[in-house]
């Protein structure tokens, strides 16, 4: 039976037979095979067997015994990723806002009031309850928003797993939302501008007032808090609670008994505020007529302080001109500080900035200004600096090696994800900011401190791990896609070296570092999501 029984003929091998059958041989070679087959029954039999096998394979593969599943019958429409993005950005915005107004600003104010020169933020977070004063209404609203967004995000991510339970999940989500909502909504009057909203003089709102409008003017009085989302806002009436405002131009001319927190482009205050003021704005003017009973915390491009501040001043401001009076200490960080002749600072003034402050001769200061002009950037002339860089490279390489050995599957996944640069960086930036916010929310709200701190730790690890996946990508670009552990380690080492060299370049280095972190985190997130929801990767 076997072809080798025939000793005299130069038989062809099986590959040649297959290539001949599939028409892949050149003419001369095919002619040789045909001639040989004509005179060799054994090889002819082999060819026939292979040909029958081809037919058998085609038939076996083509046999149609499995109908397409019902849920695949309808064509996929434009993917629904956009609402996932919206949900994620909603979470991001809500969380950022909560983080800022609820925790960071009061914490910083608290830190400076408490006399901490350098704060351990985590310690302060653990005692964050102290800094929540006067924030109950806002807190429950923001909690609701954050939890609702987080919930919808989770549902969206798990919808693959719950394919048939999605409606149930949504109903459950809605029920949970309905249970959470009433306390937040019942406490306030909610008004929508059409397009503008005006509370006329003489009118009075007996509880909180929430306004969303194009232009808002509050000439009447509000007994509770005033919360405004509006392009422009002018407050002339008396607000007995807090003022919380988002917008482009905000003016507060009427007295406020509580706190003022604004997030806007331009803010001017020319009235008395009973408690603290927190400002995040491009341009800020504190009028001569203004008086702040508590502390002033500000993040601002240019600012003029002409009024009175009874408490501490904490300022991060591009340029700051002080002509008013400060009752206590001032901590200022910025580019330029001018203290005019009318200024009066009772406590200590600490200033950190690139330029020496300009102090007019008439200014009254409780003590001389402590000026710190920080030396920018690392000392490139020291050998130790480069030695440290090498050590850092070694540490990151070891870390990468550990990931590669312990979780090779994840390493490959994340490496693949890093190749999709755009989505990776997009998701990376999102999660880079959203994760700490979600963690803070978890710390402060229902989920609990443990979850929050764990999330923070994982986030930190992800930031560190980000570089190894980007490094693998860089290495692959330079060394090729050779398969196996050795080449993978080589790519990692070379990629990390290149990234770390780029990171120490003056000025461009921090940007490189940011991109690497965002990109790598995105790759990690995409790789993780791939496990949770394959649809997401296609949508991205």
């Amino acid at each position: 039976m076997s072809a080798s029984d025939d000793p005299m003929v130069n038989h062809f091998d099986e590959v040649t037979g297959l290539l001949y059958l599939e028409g892949q041989l050149d003419e001369d070679h095919a002619g040789e095979v045909a001639a040989h087959v004509a005179s060799c029954p054994a090889c002819g039999q082999l060819l026939r067997a292979l040909e029958k096998e081809s037919v058998w394979l085609r038939e076996s593969l083509a046999t149609d015994d499995e109908p397409i599943p019902a849920h695949l019958m309808a064509a996929p429409q434009r993917n629904s990723a956009h609402w996932g993005w919206i949900a994620a950005f909603g979470l991001c915005a809500g969380g950022l806002y909560t983080l800022w107004n609820g925790i960071v600003a009061p914490s910083i104010a608290g830190l400076s009031q408490g006399g901490f020169s350098q704060g351990n933020v985590l310690t302060m977070l653990l005692f964050q309850g102290t800094f929540w004063k006067g924030w109950d209404a806002m807190r429950s609203l923001m909690e609701f928003l954050a939890m609702a967004t987080l919930g919808s995000l989770v549902i969206w991510l798990l919808r693959k797993q719950w394919r048939h339970f999605t409606p149930i999940a949504f109903v459950m989500g809605a029920v949970a939302a309905a249970l959470t909502l009433p306390p937040a909504a019942a406490a306030a009057d909610v008004e929508h501008g059409d397009p503008s909203y005006t509370l006329s003089a003489g009118q009075e709102i007996r509880n909180d007032l929430i306004v969303a409008a194009d232009r808002t003017r509050i000439d009447g009085d509000v007994d509770g808090d005033l919360i405004v989302f509006s392009n422009s806002l002018t407050v002339n009436g008396h607000i007995k609670g807090d003022v919380l405002a988002f917008g482009s131009a905000i003016r507060v001319n009427g007295p406020v008994d509580g706190n003022v927190r604004v997030f806007c482009q331009a803010f001017s205050l020319s009235s008395a505020v009973g408690k603290n003021v927190t400002v995040w704005t491009g341009a800020f003017e504190l009028d001569e007529k203004s008086a702040i009973g508590g502390s002033l915390t500000m993040f601002s491009g240019t600012s003029e302080l002409n009024g009175k501040v009874a408490g501490d001043l904490l300022a991060y401001s591009g340029s700051l001109e002080i002509n008013g009076s400060l009752g206590r200490n001032a901590a200022i960080r910025g580019d330029r500080l001018i203290i005019g002749s009318a200024a009066e600072i009772q406590g200590q003034t600490k200033y950190t900035g690139r330029r020496q402050p300009e102090v007019a001769s008439g200014a009254k200061l409780g003590s001389p200004i402590q000026v710190t002009i920080p030396k920018r950037g690392p000392d490139y002339s020291r050998v130790a600096y480069y030695w440290h860089r090498v050590l850092f490279w070694g540490a990151s390489f070891l870390f990468g090696l550990m990931v590669l050995i312990l979780a090779p599957g994840f390493f490959v996944d994340a490496g693949q994800a890093a190749k999709r640069v755009g989505p990776a960086i997009g998701f990376g930036i999102l999660f880079l900011f959203a994760t700490p916010i979600a963690a803070v929310i978890a710390c402060v709200t229902i989920v609990g401190l443990g979850v929050g701190i764990t999330a923070f730790l994982l986030w930190g690890i992800a930031i560190y791990a980000a570089q190894i996946f980007v490094a693998s990508w860089v290495g692959e670009k330079l060394l090729g896609e050779k398969v196996g552990m050795g080449p993978a380690i080589g790519r990692l080492a070379l990629g990390l070296a290149i990234i770390r060299v780029l990171m120490i370049v003056p000025y461009a280095g921090p940007l490189v570092a940011f991109c690497v972190v965002a990109w790598g985190i995105g790759a990690i997130v995409l790789a993780l999501h791939r496990k949770v929801s394959p649809q997401l990767t296609a949508a991205a």
Partner: protein, 205 residues
């Protein structure tokens, strides 16, 4: 050469019209195109990806890619060829992502088994196994071997297309296919009737 499996028939002119409507954003045309090709693509994925869930997901994802990338399709070439190219790239990418230790598979691939099959035994193997068993055997093969067989004998891809999809040299495709056939024979021989693996005499050109 176009023996690719699709349900029903759509003439070339119809297809061209449907494609231009889909490009213009017509949802009905998109539904029509999907109904025409989704079953074949689902079966294609089903043969390539071991888990049914994965095949379902892959089908959806492939069609989303198709919709995104339709602008890059060169209408002078057969649509099915392009469609299968998109599908096979997607599946191969999925498989590669899953494969944890890639080096297990590539190292010895150049070494082709040199024993020849006994034609009689081969025929018996073909007679004894149902299509379903063949597909079950296929699922046991290494990813690349399975890909090669399905791309060639289900999707009717050319050697060039297969080489391009799997990232191998064109000259290597024949070796890959033959090796895959050997592996399939072994898999069926072991699982089925207890037939001995390929027992033949070695010979060379």
């Amino acid at each position: 050469m176009d023996r690719r499996k699709t349900t029903g028939a759509m003439s070339e002119a119809d297809l061209a019209q449907v494609l231009s409507q889909v490009r213009a954003g017509d949802a009905d045309a998109w539904g029509e195109l999907y109904r025409q090709y989704a079953p074949a693509i689902f079966r294609f994925c089903r043969r390539l990806l071991p888990a049914r869930e994965d095949a379902e997901d892959a089908t959806t994802e492939i069609f989303m890619k198709v919709r995104q990338k339709l602008g890059t399709y060169d209408s002078s070439r057969p649509f099915t060829a392009w469609l299968y190219k998109v599908a096979s790239n997607h599946c191969w990418d999925t498989l590669r992502r899953r494969r944890i230790r890639q080096d297990l598979e590539t190292g010895d691939v150049d070494a082709l088994p040199l024993e020849h099959p006994d034609p009689g035994q081969l025929e018996r193997l073909q007679n004894e196994h149902t299509s379903k068993e063949v597909r079950a055997g296929l699922a046991k093969l290494p990813d690349r071997a399975r890909m090669a067989l399905v791309l060639r004998y289900y999707a009717d891809m050319s050697y060039d297309e297969i080489a391009d999809t799997l990232g191998v040299r064109r000259a290597f495709v024949g070796v890959l296919l033959l090796r895959a056939r050997h592996q399939l024979r072994d898999a069926l021989g072991q699982s089925g009737t207890g037939m001995a693996a390929t027992a033949g005499s070695g010979r060379k050109t």
